[in-house]
Assembly symmetry: C5
Homo-oligomer: 356 residues x 5
Amino acid sequence: MILFRVLFLVFVTVALAATTVEPVVAQNILDSRLDTPIGTPENPLDVGIGIRIDQITSVDQKAENYGAVVVLRVEWTDPALAFDRQELGRDIRVFNPPALADHAAEIGTVVPAFVIHNQQSNKWIHESAASLRYDGRVLYVEKSSLTLQAPHFDFRKYPFDTQEFHFEVVSIFPSQYVSYHPINEFSGLGDLLGEEEWILDNARLETSQVTGLSGQDSDQVALIFEGHRHLTYYVIRVFLPMLVLISVGWALFFLDEYRKRIEIAGGNLLVFVAFNWAISADLPKLGYLTFLDFVLQCMFLMTGALIVFNVALRRLKVSGRESGARKLDNYAVKWIYPLGYAAIVGYAVFAYLLVP
Amino acid sequence: MILFRVLFLVFVTVALAATTVEPVVAQNILDSRLDTPIGTPENPLDVGIGIRIDQITSVDQKAENYGAVVVLRVEWTDPALAFDRQELGRDIRVFNPPALADHAAEIGTVVPAFVIHNQQSNKWIHESAASLRYDGRVLYVEKSSLTLQAPHFDFRKYPFDTQEFHFEVVSIFPSQYVSYHPINEFSGLGDLLGEEEWILDNARLETSQVTGLSGQDSDQVALIFEGHRHLTYYVIRVFLPMLVLISVGWALFFLDEYRKRIEIAGGNLLVFVAFNWAISADLPKLGYLTFLDFVLQCMFLMTGALIVFNVALRRLKVSGRESGARKLDNYAVKWIYPLGYAAIVGYAVFAYLLVP
Amino acid sequence: MILFRVLFLVFVTVALAATTVEPVVAQNILDSRLDTPIGTPENPLDVGIGIRIDQITSVDQKAENYGAVVVLRVEWTDPALAFDRQELGRDIRVFNPPALADHAAEIGTVVPAFVIHNQQSNKWIHESAASLRYDGRVLYVEKSSLTLQAPHFDFRKYPFDTQEFHFEVVSIFPSQYVSYHPINEFSGLGDLLGEEEWILDNARLETSQVTGLSGQDSDQVALIFEGHRHLTYYVIRVFLPMLVLISVGWALFFLDEYRKRIEIAGGNLLVFVAFNWAISADLPKLGYLTFLDFVLQCMFLMTGALIVFNVALRRLKVSGRESGARKLDNYAVKWIYPLGYAAIVGYAVFAYLLVP
Amino acid sequence: MILFRVLFLVFVTVALAATTVEPVVAQNILDSRLDTPIGTPENPLDVGIGIRIDQITSVDQKAENYGAVVVLRVEWTDPALAFDRQELGRDIRVFNPPALADHAAEIGTVVPAFVIHNQQSNKWIHESAASLRYDGRVLYVEKSSLTLQAPHFDFRKYPFDTQEFHFEVVSIFPSQYVSYHPINEFSGLGDLLGEEEWILDNARLETSQVTGLSGQDSDQVALIFEGHRHLTYYVIRVFLPMLVLISVGWALFFLDEYRKRIEIAGGNLLVFVAFNWAISADLPKLGYLTFLDFVLQCMFLMTGALIVFNVALRRLKVSGRESGARKLDNYAVKWIYPLGYAAIVGYAVFAYLLVP
Amino acid sequence: MILFRVLFLVFVTVALAATTVEPVVAQNILDSRLDTPIGTPENPLDVGIGIRIDQITSVDQKAENYGAVVVLRVEWTDPALAFDRQELGRDIRVFNPPALADHAAEIGTVVPAFVIHNQQSNKWIHESAASLRYDGRVLYVEKSSLTLQAPHFDFRKYPFDTQEFHFEVVSIFPSQYVSYHPINEFSGLGDLLGEEEWILDNARLETSQVTGLSGQDSDQVALIFEGHRHLTYYVIRVFLPMLVLISVGWALFFLDEYRKRIEIAGGNLLVFVAFNWAISADLPKLGYLTFLDFVLQCMFLMTGALIVFNVALRRLKVSGRESGARKLDNYAVKWIYPLGYAAIVGYAVFAYLLVP
């Protein structure tokens, strides 16, 4: 890794630095250069941050994190780094990033270090490069893969939930020394994220101030995007099987024997337990019920109650009150079973999905 | 990784060092500087340690460890490192950490090295930085992710257990050379730990002396915090299904045939075995029974006994003593089944949860 | 790793550079050397890229990526790097890659850095080497293992699908500075890929322009190959068991009791749910139905309908209209059951496999 | 990692070197210094090795390895490394380990390199440090985590087995150049290993000679310890469920119908297959039977024989010889079933556990 | 890792180089030194390669690779590296491997770099060392762990298959520059491989020429060894359970009811599907049938046919032709069932195991 990168990354296209810094601004910086050094409260360094996510390698909702391949772009202008292009014969110097840092250290100026606030794993840098224009304009680009915390997951509407994902770049220097602004044209989500389960969109950059490593307020630029799920999976693996099993169970109740019904409902009970465990394998151990949990638990309880109801009916029949049992039964079969299940779903939709 | 860090970490905000060291203390140090070098038994180096856990990336109770993203803060004042700010023209020198170590080595003073006592994996450093104030005040900050041993797990009250988690920073130098004090204002747990299963709180710093790498007593500052579980998961995945299955089993006993009961109880027996294995998959292979194990094992044994009891009843009936069988049966069904299960739970609550 | 590589990789066979650069071209370059430096819009650097995949270590269709061991070959001629072979006494200088980069940096010329566009993991370099011929001809070879995104997966025809895999090498310099051409004779797939599930073939190099790290159009050379699956696995694990279970189910319908049929069909219903989940474990959570999903879901629904149909028949019989029930039954058993299943498969083949 | 370590590890407490080297020995070494260099067959270097295991991070009996966090301590005295403490003004020089190696290389003396013979994974060093006393006494300490082969596993008595774990430190230099002796006071197992399944004890250091990397006899110091299992897990997950299922099966045989028995025994057959697979998931694919395997296989075969026996009885009854069947049956139920199972367990205990 | 290795690996026992180079050969080399440099077509460098596998950490037949801890030994004599032992006062110089490479680069000679052809993962070097004798004899030793491709797996005879494993060391230099010869006395398999499932033996070194990284013919030395499986695992987990289930199924057919038989055979059908999936979990998704697949599939089909046959018999009986049914039945039960299964196994043994 290291050998290779030292070989090939040392040189970055001169075009990397061919960004448009307005002459006027550059002029201002050059003027101010005589007064106070940049990166101080009197003359804070203004840094542009671009965050483009090229790939989503995974979304692990149990661990509440996601993997990404990201291109970070950091731009700033530091007159202290300016050089005489006549003397060098070139407009641009291309640096191996550590070499630029060494150069800056020598001349006593700052490099706007950052940390990714919600980084969770090691960050594997695929490639990084830095270029410096004669007027002190620096462009640093880095492509890397890492895992990021996604602590904003809220599964209450699962699987109809919408989740928010963050990618937070925080300055190591406090805000009074280094300020951040977003570079929107080099930010956002790529075209081929390679994620099948989630529909990811609504990407935006947000700037804010957070407590940084130094313990003081530091600038943060965050790429925030949202995801909701393709529902086909849940329809064909969960909802359709459950609907068919419940419908068939209902049909079987039209065969009159209580004994048989009890067996069928007992089988359903075990199926619900199996579904319950299968779904929980996809989620963290939550402190609340999801929409799907609520529906499953209510149906489970209702199926248990149906068995007890049928046992009672059978005892009525055995004790000679078969007509009363049959009347109760017709009522229950024709109305309670379907309406009960529908009511559970209806209430769950109202309480979980419609209420914000 | 390396390239990037050498580039951007070399420079740390001057604010990193803008901590409040009381002038008087600084004065003392400057005075003592003439006498004996710091970091010796005559003049031990006093080091402040701050530990802030930003993320809990995982809690693996089977392996008894947890993953964390942590910000470590190390502060000390070493007059030998002081410099003339007039000459340098700046109050603060910012160092790439290895460069500070090299500098200290050259002038023959110590850097207070530490080791994380319960570290289990490699430590991936996201970012680190060091700054030095003109009076010798050093601030080292490091953000990293790692896995830590959590050997204090005790599952006896599982899933109602409270566990203790440690993060132990131990000095490599013995206590007589380097002493530690906690920095409480930069320590504790972050706001977005990203952990769903555990409620983590009660974080506190504790200072103590342990046997260090050198084989001698060394100072330790530990961040200790506690966790207990959200119970919703256990209620809807374990307790509710068990309660429903047992209740339904009880209802079915009111249908009089012994044969059927035996089948139902036999099915329950297998369900208990399945629960038993499912729960054991979440825990290490313990040398003792947890609350949940105890309840499940007792219910399992009682269900086995119920089957034998029903076989006996049926043999009574077959051998013509049906009325005796029926009497015994009523007694067992109406009292022993529910009261037996309740007694098991009651005893378990008393013996496991209430007794400290 | 590092030590070893620094030891053994420093030296690369002189033969590495013994490639055929046409004398005329070399002459042109030498001429142009006097005018403008290479690697500029006036005189872009032409680079040859060879991509040979030696091993496919894994194909993870759930994560939509694949692992590969790849040999990359980069060739270019830069007159600025030429040296006097008389003076050195050798035609070839062999470089440790970072040393070549340092050398190029010193004399102020560029090294054509690249990035692998769909790289997903860290890249572990097994070995890398660079050689330089007296006329400025450079050959860089690198063997490495990495994981690559395969976002073009389309499972609609699963398991009869054909997928496309890419390996994309993108220049870090914009196209106007560095242009790429493929080296076909050193590219393609190896003979012992070590992949059992997929039949991989149709490898080809494609050149295009994409937006590079710099944000400008950059040249890309991609190795593209295709894979389709050995079907034996799916035949013996899925299609044959399903065919046998359905056939046996059909045979059992010739035993006349409706009650027994309902049990059998109910069992099949659960088997379909199990198959459904087992197959979903092999695929990502898709937003569409695959061929296999479609077939399974339709059969599942039809089996559910069969149960309801049998319940209706039994009610007919119970209510005294047995002959009508029997007539309906013969019709259904003899025609609807087998033809229905055949129609499902036929429609699925038409809609999923034949329609492009 | 690297940055941090270079920063903080450069300096190790002077106390690290404050070990008691007897003055006489030191004197001898100083004397012999004038004759022959140390680390030669005439004057082999004597090195002390201490191995303390702080944590057991995992025991993977399937892969036959274990993970450990270990503190290694290496001590030796090399007069060639001695320095004039008056001149330096200090008794101790603290080295960053690579710096010590460089220093030794410069003055042409050896550093006693070692390799961990049964190391299996990479070794992640948490911290390492070296100190040198004025008389040439060196102390090297290293804390690291790694995975170690445990090839001595023998599962014949599983789960009542006792296993041996090794940690083997081998000299890279042959015995005639460098000899090892154990440092018992800094060796052994820590207090909080964090391992729940195994009871680990009986740790001891053993010195021996093995064939080293050089192909010649080299000294080895090994920490050897033993582990046996907490049995609670196996009692409540395996033995108790099996005992209850077998007892219930026996009770059910007192209900006279052969048909029912066959069903019950058939169910048990499948339960044994399930147990068989569940237990095999915990073990490697062995070339021999464990105690538990033997018991399960015999019970499985016996249950199969019971079914055949019941089929025969039923055919006897059907063919009119019911009384003979009944007699055989009583004999089998009352004696063969319980005694057969007991005999299996008894023989297994004798053949597997008692015979050494 | 790095720090440690730089510290302790710099020095390798002088004995490492104490290998027997015949004086005559050395003489020749010294003579030829005056003519042409070594490592050229006129005077190719002859390199000895030793490969000893100390541990097999895993055999992953699904991914078709294996993990190993290996000791590589590389020996060669390059007169250009010779030195004057009088001047140095020593016969042997011990090098940190990168330092040797640097030294060789300075004096303009080659170091025989190699690559492991079937390496799949990163290679973690536990330890490496190099020594140089006064006459130019170099010995390089390296102990490392890595994962290697094993693409020669052929599962047709599974689980009675014999597989071939390779460890291939290929020269980076073409054969005309560097030639390889095997060092048999330092090669082979260790005594404690730590692999339980496979019996590994028949290790041998083979020399050949393959296309190297340079695209030209390069020398390869490969350690090749073979493995076959302990069969106990397959007997007690697969063959014995299947034999018992089939035997019991056969016994049950002697109870005359067709209805019951259909249920039993239906249960067996599901057991075969479960076995089918369980076995497929251990193998990659192959494009052909293994011995075990063939046996299971045939038995599955035959069991399906048996059910259909019993349905036909029952219809015969229902339609009044019971005696014909009974005759057919006796024939089938007594002959077809056992002989059919035996024939399947016999044919499979002949077609899969005996035919080469």
